[in-house]
């Protein structure tokens, strides 16, 4: 909402009802309620003696000096902290140092206290722990409530989420509730030396253009951060943090979305975002048979197989293995692109790979513009030789 009532702070004095020029505020159960006639004019915000009425407009002109500390929102899946959370800590550590402020990890979940030590050993100065049976993994509404409430109370300068499916679903709700800006899928974060603003760099236009974005007047400054790009710090055993429990006040409405069933078997579990090596194929692979060859190479390298949209559309690989703008964004140490032209929609999902090998018959294929090692040849000749050479090397050891 652009203007809303913090129910807990409302004294029920009815001043706002009279202050509203549109008659958009009424009382229910002794509390003020703003209905859709509201045009966010802000008259009620000024009239309220307890500060219970908040608006986005006020947040937009935040007194930035009141906001301190860098927060990272930890993500657990299947009862484990995800590797991208440790990357966020690594990145957040650098930002906190540049600001000379604390790095705080936010752990919200059903049972997450046990991860506090991990957070500390990977760089956190403070760990905020929020536990509640309603904070199930992957549930946006309760997590949005918990994180928003905590941020309103503690006023962090920066809040970072991982740009995982869950993070990208949760962060926008938190930003909307706080009335602050949010930058999606950042690949680089830094602090402006002069203004101390967070500089958030992200790819746009399928990775062909980079944009650096900042929020000079709104706090907290929020981003989702692409997994696989930032570096986790090595574990520092015994490193300590302040562990602070925060109250969670979930409401019945936070359980509006019910998960009925998770059909795991339907899809083979592929999480390309955490793969270290990816062997990827495109139109040049030509057939499902052709992909068998790539699977063989992947098996030798301990890699995952992926591909372009064309490979998915032709049914050579499943949709969850598509890399690119409408597929997954990956960031492996090694990406071997076989028979892939390197269209911008594909590049946007893999240009961040640390080493890119391209095998393509067309010397002018755009993929060669971003490759580290260019193999201008027929993949059906090179890949079998490559498999043989890797196997031979394996035998030597």
């Amino acid at each position: 909402m652009a203007v809303w009532v913090e129910k807990d702070d409302c004294a029920g004095c009815e001043t706002c009802v009279e202050a509203c020029p549109l008659g958009a505020i009424s009382m229910r159960d002794g509390l003020a309620i703003i209905d859709e006639k509201c045009n966010s004019c802000g008259a009620c915000v000024e009239s309220c003696s307890t500060g219970a009425i908040k608006s986005d407009a006020a947040a937009a002109k935040a007194d930035t000096s009141q906001y301190r500390d860098v927060w990272i929102v930890a993500e657990t899946r299947h009862g484990r902290v995800r590797p991208c959370t440790l990357e966020l800590l690594g990145c957040g550590r650098g930002l906190a140092n540049a600001l000379d402020q604390r790095l705080c990890a936010v752990l919200a979940g059903k049972e997450v206290k046990g991860f506090a030590a991990d957070m500390a050993e990977h760089g956190a100065d403070v760990v905020y722990v929020m536990e509640d049976a309603g904070l199930e993994e992957g549930r946006t509404l309760p997590h949005a409530r918990a994180i928003t409430d905590a941020a309103r109370e503690k006023k962090p300068a920066v809040v970072l989420f991982s740009a995982t499916p869950f993070g990208r679903e949760l962060a926008p709700r938190v930003s909307r509730r706080l009335g602050t800006g949010l930058t999606a899928d950042c690949t680089e974060l830094g602090i402006d030396g002069a203004t101390k603003n967070l500089l958030q760099t992200r790819p746009a236009w399928g990775g062909n253009l980079m944009a650096t974005i900042y929020s000079p007047d709104s706090r907290p400054q929020m981003s989702t951060v692409r997994p696989g790009v930032m570096k986790a710090l090595p574990r520092e055993p015994g490193r300590k943090a302040d562990i602070v429990g925060l109250k969670v006040n979930l409401k019945a409405e936070d359980a509006r979305l019910q998960v009925v069933e998770l059909k795991k078997g339907l899809r083979k579990k592929v999480d390309l975002t955490e793969a270290k090596i990816i062997v990827s194929g495109g139109n040049g692979v030509g057939s499902k048979e052709g992909f068998k060859l790539l699977e063989e190479l992947a098996a030798v390298l301990g890699a995952e197989v992926a591909g372009t949209r064309i490979a998915v559309e032709e049914g050579w690989i499943t949709a969850d293995r598509q890399v690119g703008q409408t597929g997954q964004s990956v960031c492996p140490d090694l990406y071997i692109a076989c028979g892939i032209s390197g269209a911008i929609q594909h590049r946007s999902g893999m240009a961040g790979a640390k080493t890119i090998v391209a095998i393509n018959t067309d010397p002018n294929a755009p993929i060669f513009q971003i490759a580290d090692i260019a193999v201008n040849a027929d993949l059906f000749k090179v890949v079998p030789e490559l498999i043989a050479a890797l196997r031979a090397r394996g035998d030597e050891c």
Binding site: E169, R176, L257, A371, A374, V375, A388
Partner: protein, 273 residues
């Protein structure tokens, strides 16, 4: 939702969010300068939004009701809405005004949210998962938050039964079946369905001045001028640049077997194999 207790039917009011975007498939990179070549690139409906329209139309077909397409954009975004009518939407609203320009996702979600409130009742808002120019995927959840309704992101199947939304969404390690009360918001990807083509007579009719397309500005939706467009956008672009292509490409040459051996050598040096 309109309910007819006697007939046991419930009609659905569906709002579909449609964005007009440049066809990035046609955007080429200048191989010398590494910049985008945008000249003459046509505008299209954002691909995911075609699936959102299809999802909305199918719900209307099984339940009755209305599909209203809403777009915020420059006047030429009217073409996207005409196409939506051509596909079968009942009505459309184009939010266009200079004051809307320069909006980031917070200001866009406020504007779309205000418009939906102004339209009155709705049971379901359907949006595309992400737009191909901005790639943020933030508008769906932010509009859901503004409207204070639950969201199903990346829905692949949706169905309304007994006044409840039953949906499936893709998950990193499976498909999750979820259920929630209406009203709600869903975003869809191209796994959801196969969009229909516009029906030509209907598309032609959408060019008629009496076609059911409203053009609204900030006043029409009661928007606060401080919260829309550039003014209402907390994020600002400091600079844009083309990613440095400083990588030194190493070209391997020779017979396939030689190249393969050289490649294994390089991977070994980089501790990748």
């Amino acid at each position: 939702m309109y309910r007819d207790a006697r007939l046991g039917v419930a009609e659905l009011d569906v709002i579909v969010l449609v964005k007009q975007v440049p066809n990035t498939a046609e955007v080429k990179i200048d191989p010398r300068t590494g910049t985008l070549m945008r000249e003459g690139v046509e505008s299209i409906i954002n691909p995911d939004d075609l699936h959102a329209l299809e999802a909305g139309l199918r719900l209307r077909e099984s339940h009755g009701g209305r599909v209203t397409a809403v777009s915020m954009g420059p006047p030429q975004a009217m073409d996207a809405l005409r196409e939506a009518l051509g596909m079968g939407a009942d009505a459309a609203v184009l939010l266009t005004d200079r004051a809307f320009a320069g909006a980031d996702t917070l200001a866009t979600s406020y504007t779309l949210g205000k418009c939906i409130r102004k339209l009155g009742r709705f049971d379901l808002v359907v949006a595309g998962h992400q737009a191909i120019d901005g790639d943020t995927a933030q508008i769906g959840p932010q509009v859901a938050e503004y409207l204070d309704v639950p969201q199903v992101i990346r829905a692949t199947r949706l169905e309304v039964r007994d006044g409840e939304l039953h949906a499936e969404r893709t998950h990193e390690d499976g498909v999750e079946a979820v259920r929630c009360a209406l009203p709600a918001l869903v975003t869809v990807t191209r796994e959801a369905n196969k969009p229909r083509y516009p029906y030509i007579p209907r598309l032609m009719a959408a060019f008629d001045p009496n076609a059911p397309i409203k053009t609204w500005g900030p006043k029409d939706i009661g928007a606060d001028e401080r919260l829309i467009g550039l003014k209402g956008s907390p994020t600002q672009v400091q600079k844009t640049f083309t990613p440095k292509l400083e990588k030194k490409v190493e070209k391997l040459s020779g017979q396939p077997a030689e190249m393969a051996r050289a490649l294994v050598g390089r991977l070994k040096e980089r501790r990748l194999a």
